[in-house]
Symmetry: D2
Subunit: 443 residues, 4 copies
């Protein structure tokens, strides 16, 4: 579409002052993120995997030679200006939690041990009915009802902002996956939602209270897990009203990330798909939880939809109708905190002849997720300053199940998501869109 249809957003305010990044959850992902930011600030590590820190963006024609770093092109908060706030039902500080998580090596944690010990989790809103299998949940808020608990979170936010001198905030959910909840009448309007909180309605999960608190305090909310959280009309309307960006759901790491790379490649070449078999082995608490058939159902649904949306069997029935798609997750303790994915892909080419692709991926979940927390926080803060609000589809790049405007199908193709992200930045800064046409070089 041409740019002329779109009024350019207001010129974004610069990122001055401190930015508070709030994480409900101070486990493997959050501590890997926090420890990493601190190591990078001290020059001990490189923020690999973060677009906001490392990627460039091409501007103008190929031959113009203009490709600044994204962080030099748009005004993002600097790492030195970041302060952290976290909640967790387990009382361990960030040092203890990082050591327990076993993601980072001792030798990477020790040099910043004092810094990490200083980050202590605020008491969390927690009920074991929403997340089973968490033991040691002793660091928990009490209140007369859920609305009161939400108000306590809001107070926590204001306290952290005030004590740290932060001028802006962002919240990124890095907690565990909650039980599946379908949106009901309680989730349709803000009035119904607030009443449900007051009545301790079961359909109001803790993550919703965090999202509500963030939006009410005027800070963007990003959801790294598949639970509803802010993905219903009441909170989305509230976000529009308060001018707050919201995005989700479920960080796109590991096998699903790989699928959104390979599937567009098959489709680009119009190669058919007979079947895609995916199995995962995990040795940590995630694996234990997802080995349970009930918990896995939720995850499975989100994982299965990816291929269908990319491949469009309704458009290409001869290529993609009725392919077999199996996804399995198995708990396998020897894998420890790492994760191993194995994919077998049966494709068909010219005249229907079969071929096979097999992929073995030895990956690390928190290592892939941590830079996403950083990017989402910085881009959401930027979006807020640029006057954007509500669902941020341009951040689909980071999510397994991107939130979109009602009626739109989410875009899962990693490369279209990337184009969308970069063209949005170009658009917000008044630069031309890149179309890769390039005929002018030959005329």
């Amino acid at each position: 579409m041409s740019d002329s249809n779109l009024g350019k957003a207001t010129s974004p305010a610069p990122a001055t002052g401190k930015l508070a990044i709030f994480t409900p959850g101070l486990g493997a992902v959050a501590t890997t993120f926090i420890a990493g930011v601190e190591r990078v600030r001290r020059g001990l590590s490189v923020p690999i995997g973060s677009l906001s820190q490392m990627a460039t963006i091409r501007l103008g024609k190929r031959t113009d030679g203009r490709s600044p770093l994204i962080k030099d092109f748009v005004s993002l908060a600097k790492l030195d200006d970041i302060v952290f706030g976290a909640w967790d039902p387990i009382p361990d500080n960030a040092y203890e939690s990082a050591v327990n998580a076993g993601v980072l090596e001792k030798s990477d944690i020790e040099p910043i041990a004092e810094f990490l010990k200083g980050i202590k989790p605020m008491p969390a809103v927690f009920e074991s009915r929403y997340v089973t299998r968490i033991t040691r949940a002793t660091n928990v808020k009490t209140g007369k009802n859920k609305r009161d608990l939400a108000e306590q979170i809001r107070a926590d936010i204001r306290n952290v902002m005030q004590s740290s001198g932060a001028t802006r905030g962002v919240m990124v959910w890095t907690g565990s996956t909650e039980t599946f909840i379908s949106p009901g009448p309680q989730h349709q309007t803000i009035e119904a939602f607030e009443k449900a909180m007051e009545e301790n309605d079961d359909s109001i999960a803790p993550s919703m209270l965090y999202a509500y608190a963030a939006i009410m305090e005027g800070i963007p909310y990003c959801n790294g897990a598949p639970n509803l959280s802010a993905d219903f009309p009441a909170l989305l309307d509230l976000a529009i009203e308060k001018g707050v960006p919201v995005s989700g759901k479920d960080f796109k790491t590991g096998q699903t990330w790989m699928k959104t790379i390979i599937a567009p490649g098959l489709k680009a070449r119009m190669l058919g798909l007979e079947g895609w078999y995916s199995t995962n082995i995990l040795g940590n608490r995630d694996g234990e939880v997802l080995d349970d058939p009930a918990s896995f159902k939720t995850k499975e649904a989100s994982k299965l939809s990816v291929l269908h949306t990319i491949l469009q069997p309704e458009v290409y029935p001869e290529l993609y109708k009725d392919f077999s798609h199996v996804v399995r997750i198995n708990y396998y303790p020897p894998r420890g905190d790492n994760k191993e994915g194995w994919d077998n892909i049966d494709i068909k080419g010219w005249l229907g002849y079969p071929m096979q692709i097999k992929i073995n991926f030895l990956c690390r979940d928190s290592i892939l997720a941590a830079p996403m927390v950083l990017d989402l926080a910085l881009f959401s803060d930027f979006a807020m300053r640029a006057g954007m609000k509500g669902i941020q589809e341009w951040l689909s790049f980071y999510y397994k199940a991107p939130q979109t405007a009602p009626g739109l199908q989410p875009e899962h193709d990693l490369f279209i998501q990337q184009t969308k992200l970069k063209n949005t930045l170009r658009h917000l800064m008044g630069e031309e869109q890149i179309t890769h046409l390039g005929l002018e070089y030959y005329q």
Copy 2:
């Protein structure tokens, strides 16, 4: 860039009448291509892998719901209008050659046996010094010098056109890879080139004679192998002068295709690369030839450059400087006509933590290449009617080593190549470019 910079090409003439597709080489790729077209024409098979036959193209906004088949959007030659012409130094007809190649199953060949037997190769220009290891080369032209041989090819072209009633032609090189030749003074101007032909200069390889003949006859030339063929100033100038599209080099199948899918995925996420080890096992004549270190050198160079161009180590030294890239090809007879690739990819994420991806690809070279022959023929014919001439960068999608304007780096990223191809079609037909911005849905 905005469309306004570009004058739209002249409105393409419709594809009326017959199109002759000429293949120098009537081996595994060409016979798989020809047999497939015939099977599809008879409704026996589906042309999987062919964009020109199966892909759709989105026009306008997502919500417009306009996604016609490419072949309904632009005027391409119909399969029923295609006639074939081929040269080969081995005198086998297309039926005998297909059976020998062992790509297609007997049960797929037999129903069209009579048709295939009717395609007999014209005598080829052949010298064993340019392609070793071809035995049984008994179907060979003789002439007083190379220019005379080129004129004989031109006469062949005219004969086929006339006898078949074809109004347009395209030539796609599907012959073997020739010995490496560096462009010299003989390749700089058309005068020097014609003189060199007359003097039987060693630097004039057979494939150059075919390319010269095609361009002189006003038919587009596409090069599926890595040899020079039409990739030098003399023939490129001639193509511009004669108004003929040209493209190349080396069909992007198998492992390199996979690399141009995975590498953009790593880079999109700013994940670093420590090393990429690729090995291939092949059991056919290709494998035998490439097991020879000398022949492999040429192929290796082209295979190695792909990763560097996509990953840009000069822009991202912390991610991609000095990664180890090893490519090996081994002759392994049990693999027969199939091909097996094994890749081990060592990547690094947040704070430098290592992860591994391993890919095993059981593929079939001719099955992947055949639909490319069809697409290149049809798109090149379309380009000619649209008034385009010289190098067709928008067809980079099909090539391992895309020809580009001097001074431009070739684009290897499969997804950018795809965008370029589709946006070119949109542009030629006066449609808007797709940028995936989509902010209008949220305003």
Copy 3:
């Protein structure tokens, strides 16, 4: 143990006259077996995978140079002397069934089509409660009770023997896996068993009737599936009484076969095991059945025990205690009649350092099982002539869950099983046992 403890068995009678091989089940395994025997008889194929046809046996010292073919060393029935008899609830003849099974290629079946069409299944004893998911079961015996059905099978056996002129018979169960049944009081004595048959007791499954009929008719019984069949006191006592050899259970093909190769290799080197993750994808009816958690439970138990028995965690707790062993089977239609296994093995070496082995096995179940049917039939017939009776532990080599004398742990190590098999043949023929000591070459 020294040979002197053992009286040598009576010198085996020679294999003169015809041998009838009876298979309850005329599906993929049985037809692949029968078609193979016929092709080998006609000189069209080689009986690869069959020890009885292809293996040699070393006799005496290495330097003696005596290594005859097993079939030249012991008197086995000749392929030309084999006749076939089969039962199946589906009325398809062997040709129709082989085509349906999709194991052998059409071009391998056609030359022997007439022969296969001549093998029509006798009506089977069948009840869907013991094997679900078999439709088209129209070729079924009726009778007043189970004992009557067993007598009908005995009559079938006698008829086949008489009409074919066979002097000896063997029965090999190649039918589907039956529902799990624990041995009860009905299985303890032959009287109780016969009474239960008369009372149509639910604990008497069809396969038991076949085993009973075989033993009563004095022909050896071999069990290729994991169901009980002949593995309980009543039938084992009967076999001793009637002088009939019996062996089982469950053909050792595919992933379990591979496990019994690799695990002894790890143990030989005293390398530890942290975990072994196995997943299987199957596209045929077996896969469909085993994708059902209930059916899988039986199979899983047998698959899991293999590693423990070989590795002896009770003897080597530091190496093998509490290793994680996960086995999964998934139904995945694109794999068709083939089978794909993927194993990930986490081992530990010197000082506990970890290493990983990953195995991908693209195999074919019926191709691996068919030569076992042949070997078991021929060796069981030989054992009968050699005066052996009851459980044949020396045939453990062929089984996933070998039957052994009460109180003995089954031997799963493929290499010990092989030694046992060959040393038994040597013993029966009065040759020395091989111990691989060989010190005499150095003294």
Copy 4:
């Protein structure tokens, strides 16, 4: 063969007093071995991978329940009685060398740092013509000729024995692979050999001087590399004369070990082999050296012979004649000190139907080799006390290219090697051989 042919060896003398283990080479393998022994002595680690420390041996019948640890069955030197002596051209002590090698983690080395620092290499016999690519060779002996150098080694041995109070010694070559040398007239008799040393003949490599010195001093010699070392008549005759056990060559680790597990498994089942493709990627100095075609030739020869000897194509032409066997080693720095093997095995079953096995092995060379150094030292010392001398074929289990009596083919099957090893121990201790016959349980 029956035991009666063999006089039992003299009853072995008990292992009293200290045992000095000498290693020419103090690099990755030797330091991993030494550090491991010390950690085990202190109770910090378990000697996984060592038969002498961890394996049991079954005695008598299965039902006897006699399975003592090997070290309780035969009198082996205790770990506490071991002292170390090493030579290396690089002057680093065992601590520095272990840290450089990068095999063991810092946290495993530090607790025994002082102990390792105390092990300083004696000056080595070294000439860069025999091992290229070693730089920093500053710790080198000088002498008037090679015989003089050998005498210096003998003096070193005596010094270490005396100063440590050791009563017995063993030498295990853990140095680099030397240039290929064919045995010549200089290697036929001890006189010719000693003369050649005096004349500084080029065909006398340093490892031969070590072997000569060891044998002259009456201590067993084991060769962990593929170079000749002690594998020629002069030194073998000397070993017989001096009553010294000798064994070699080339530790069987990694891919070759795996081959000697899988190949016997295929052969046991009479499955055919179409081809075996093996590739290795290594990132350490070994990889760098073997990436050189000349060095690789030697290694390749030894690696290729394994399959032929196990599979016996001359006996089984229909199964194993002309299979394709490709072995490649590639230098790939990201793999560091680890090693990755990838095997593709094309097998054929019943009627010739093809199947594929693919194995990916992420292993660690020094971790696999270190326990072999220990076992070879302890078993060789035991053999000496048991009166055995010359080639020890029963230790083939540890070697890629086992030394055997002239005219005997080496046995490569890991499981036969294991039987040979254990039956030799049983024989030396007067126990019955195990044949796995076991018919007595059924009679």
